[in-house]
């Protein structure tokens, strides 16, 4: 086989021609320019996707909200050693003012001394919620990225190679799918907590949340691998790895991005559920779910301790869900054209 393969240079040239053909093939979702460096036609398709996304009002609203939340969360108390604009430390108790009630005023707008109030030992709750939100966002991002990467690779290998590779990988997926996500996540999170902090938790949760995407990507690969452009690439001797990652994968990028976005929103909810069950982020670290769980018993006398982290979870998840919906419509406009 190897000796019949064209020289590396010729191979590149044929492949470039192939990709130009693909770019004019209206059957296939066209490719982002950065990924494959395709000329004119593809760039305009990327722009169409961006345009469609920008026109999607709910999605743009979600994007703006998410950016604002992330800016607020990371700039207020700073990141790690870098200080933010909010003066109070979330670990240090202060004198309790006015029963620890929130001082936030919307009209006329003023933050006051403790905008979100204080907890039962006088710590500034705004700083605490910001610290918790940072951890939750980091975990959600990690879970989304790692889960999607694993899901993509497993789905791609199973869909492309078929045969026993597919059987093995898909049976593994089936095995993990039979277990409720909260339960398996609780088990691995408990394992992660015994060994390290938030980053390890995110990593471990990523290891169990890839199954849905793996099935979707496999489905896409099963249909794409039968297309002419893949046959053509195979017939000029492009190696399998290159076909998978350079030829087929860019065509499934829409599905993957949408699914990764939605995975992040469910990861926020998953993390909070785990923290509630006592298997999530452990003290001295904090997260939104852990805050709610900590102050659940204080619900009667200090309801704001329960409301603020919950509202942040809902706001972040809602914003990400809207973005995901907008992305789906942008990548797959077929759904929009339907009129009943």
């Amino acid at each position: 086989m190897t000796d019949q393969r064209p020289s590396s240079e010729g191979h590149e040239r044929i492949e470039a021609q192939m990709e130009r053909l693909v770019a004019t093939d209206t059957d296939v979702l066209e490719v982002e320019p950065a990924a494959t460096a395709i000329p004119v036609a593809a760039r305009s398709s990327a722009r169409t996707i961006v345009n469609r996304f920008v026109r999607h009002r709910a999605a743009m609203g979600g994007l703006v909200a998410l950016v604002l939340i992330v800016l607020l969360v990371f700039s207020s108390i700073g990141i790690g050693p870098i200080p933010g604009w909010w003066p109070l430390d979330y670990r240090v108790p202060q004198a309790i003012l006015n029963g620890g009630k929130p001082t936030l005023q919307l009209w006329p707008f003023s933050l006051g001394a403790h905008p979100f109030g204080q907890d039962n030992i006088g710590r500034d709750y705004f700083a605490l919620v910001m610290a918790g939100a940072q951890q939750s966002i980091i975990i959600a991002f990690l879970v989304g990225v790692i889960g999607s990467a694993i899901g993509t690779v497993i789905g791609a290998l199973a869909g492309y190679f078929r045969g026993w590779t597919e059987s093995v990988l898909m049976r593994i997926t089936d095995v993990i799918i039979t277990i409720p996500l909260v339960a398996i996540a609780a088990v691995v999170a408990k394992g992660a907590n015994g060994r390290g902090g938030v980053w390890l938790l995110g990593l471990f949760l990523g290891f169990v949340t890839w199954t849905g995407l793996a099935r979707i990507v496999r489905g896409e690969f099963l249909s794409l691998r039968e297309k002419e452009f893949v046959d053509a690439a195979r017939s000029v001797g492009v190696p399998s790895g290159r076909i998978i990652f350079r030829h087929i994968l860019p065509n499934t990028i829409g599905v993957i991005i949408v699914s990764a976005t939605l995975a992040m929103s469910s990861a926020i909810l998953l993390e909070s559920a785990l923290s509630f069950l006592g298997f999530g982020v452990q003290p001295p670290n904090t997260s939104l779910g852990q805050l709610i769980n900590n102050y659940r018993s204080a619900m009667g006398p200090r309801p704001w301790l329960f409301w603020w982290p919950g509202l942040f979870i809902v706001a972040i998840a809602l914003a990400v869900n809207f973005i995901g919906d907008g992305l789906r419509d942008a990548f797959d406009p077929r759904q929009n054209r339907q009129k009943a």
Partner: protein
């Protein structure tokens, strides 16, 4: 079919085996089971550690422990074995009795939530698909997105804190000011107007009629002190039964002259069912599950018979609708009896009928209906919490798949050849839109079970969720594995049922 089931069972067996092995290893490695004892410094430390080591077989490596666990489970499958324990927990107590007491409440919760979410989700999804881009559609979309973004335990706690307490206080003293009454009536009118839609005139009419109806109903119920002593009575069963029979016939058979006989037989089924309920009156007080099933079967049978006798040339359809009417009458009968049981439960719960903790009132000591009403009231809030999320996904999927079907060529053909809209939607579109949903329900089941873990913790149920959580906290694998075994088997079985349902709904698919 049999070959298919047999082959699936074999595959499923290996999948369950693999998933339990994976989970056993993960649970066993998730922490140090002796952590608490190692931190303990009192007398008898060494003996306690030794006892715990013996109970959990800690001197055997993890794969060996898994095999030991498999043997314990295997004894439950082998017939005649009475040493079925499903392993011992860290306190050397057998797991099986704990599982038996836990499984009932959890399954009740999960099944109630799934069934209700499915019913409501499918109905809402279809209405939103038919009214695409209407106010109702946008409203439901927004609500669905909100439901997707709500942390389950947060909602559960809110429900517990606000809904339960306020509702209980209101039920203790059920009064409404005229302003509140008017407000509720206007909101109800608005909801119906938005749901039914149409032109401005139609909307106004719907709004007016439903607002007035809501106002009158609530007024009558309040003045007759209905919320303290709720009742429906035979007359209520008959009237609601007749209305439902009319609706079912109109929906599934239409009101054309050709199918007029279906309508008549459905109405007859409702009346005959009510007669059976009246005749079974003396049985009600000493009802058991068996006599309940017997009475239900008689009522449904009478309904089917009414359809067969009066159906004429559309006998089959009339019999199906008669059976449906029978089911409706059974549900109405159960509601009527449970309403009658309400004052007793109200007294026994000390005037707080909506409970916030536990899955049943201890020492209730009631009859069939009182016990079941108590269980239903305990289910109310947890089910509501779990339902929200499944409801959102069912609504979205039903809407998408219904829209997909409505755009198919054969639907256009059906319309073009002059079929009326009811036939196009109910007979040509709805059935096909259900097909993708079958897979989703099976897939969702594991998610609902996971949700049950969280909800049970919030509402203090001692179900499988608690068993799982406590076992995992103490790194005590056997109770955790009992939970996983049940969920894995349930998921696998549901998946198989989904595949069979798939083949039933879509004749192109052959089970092989």
């Amino acid at each position: 079919m049999l070959v298919f089931v047999a082959r699936r069972l074999v595959v499923s067996f290996f999948i369950v085996l693999a998933s339990t092995a994976l989970m056993y290893v993960l649970v066993a490695l998730s922490g140090n089971p002796l952590q608490r004892l190692l931190e303990y410094n009192g007398p008898g430390r060494a003996e306690r550690i030794a006892a715990r080591t013996r109970a959990l077989n800690l001197d055997v490596p993890v794969p060996g422990r898994y095999v030991l666990w498999l043997q314990d489970v295997g004894r439950c499958i082998v017939p005649g074995g009475d040493d079925c324990t499903m392993g011992l927990d860290a306190q050397s107590r057998p797991v099986l009795p704990q599982l038996q007491s836990a499984i009932g409440s959890t399954l009740r919760l999960v099944i109630a939530a799934t069934v209700l979410a499915l019913l409501l989700g499918v109905i809402t999804g279809i209405v939103t698909a038919l009214r695409q881009y209407s106010t109702f559609d946008y409203g439901v979309t927004l609500i669905a997105f909100l439901c997707f973004s709500l942390p389950l335990f947060w909602v559960s706690t809110l429900l517990k804190q606000y809904v339960a307490i306020d509702l209980n206080s209101w039920l203790a003293n059920p009064e409404m000011t005229y302003a509140a009454l008017l407000g509720v009536a206007l909101i109800a009118g608005l909801i119906w107007a938005v749901v039914i839609g149409g032109e401005r005139r139609t909307r106004l009419i719907v709004f007016g009629v439903s607002a007035v109806a809501t106002f009158t109903t609530l007024f009558v119920l309040l003045t007759t002190n209905w919320f303290r002593r709720p009742t429906m009575g035979l007359l209520g069963i008959l009237l609601i039964g007749l209305v439902m029979a009319f609706l079912w016939a109109a929906l599934f058979a239409g009101l054309r002259p050709r199918t007029r006989r279906v309508l008549y037989s459905a109405l007859a089924a409702a009346a005959a069912g009510t007669v059976v309920v009246a005749l079974a009156g003396p049985l009600m007080r000493s009802m058991t599950w068996w006599s309940f099933i017997a009475v239900s079967l008689v009522i449904i049978g009478v309904g089917v018979a009414a359809g067969l006798v009066g159906g004429g040339h559309v006998k089959r359809l009339a019999a199906q609708i008669g059976g449906l009417v029978g089911v409706t009458v059974v549900v109405l009968m159960a509601i009527d009896q449970m309403l009658g049981a309400y004052p007793y439960v109200y007294r026994r719960t000390g005037g707080r009928p909506i409970p916030t903790t536990g899955s049943e009132t201890p020492n209730l000591d009631g009859n069939f209906w009182q016990t079941n009403l108590d269980l239903a009231l305990h289910l109310l809030l947890p089910t509501l919490a779990i339902m929200l999320i499944s409801f959102a996904s069912y609504t979205r999927y039903t809407r998408a798949s219904m829209l997909d079907v409505l755009n198919q060529d054969y639907v256009r053909t059906a319309r073009a050849k002059g079929l009326n809209e009811r036939t196009v939607i109910v007979r040509h579109s709805f059935r096909n839109a259900l097909i993708p949903l079958a897979t989703l329900v099976a897939f969702d089941f594991a998610g609902v079970l996971g949700g049950a873990v969280v909800t049970e913790t919030v509402f203090g149920w001692s179900g499988m969720g608690l068993m799982f959580q406590r076992g995992l906290t103490n790194v005590d694998p056997n109770p955790v594995m009992a939970f996983f075994l049940v969920t894995a088997v349930a998921t696998v079985v549901f998946n198989m049922i989904a595949d069979i349902a798939y083949a039933y709904l879509d004749p192109r698919i052959r089970l092989s």
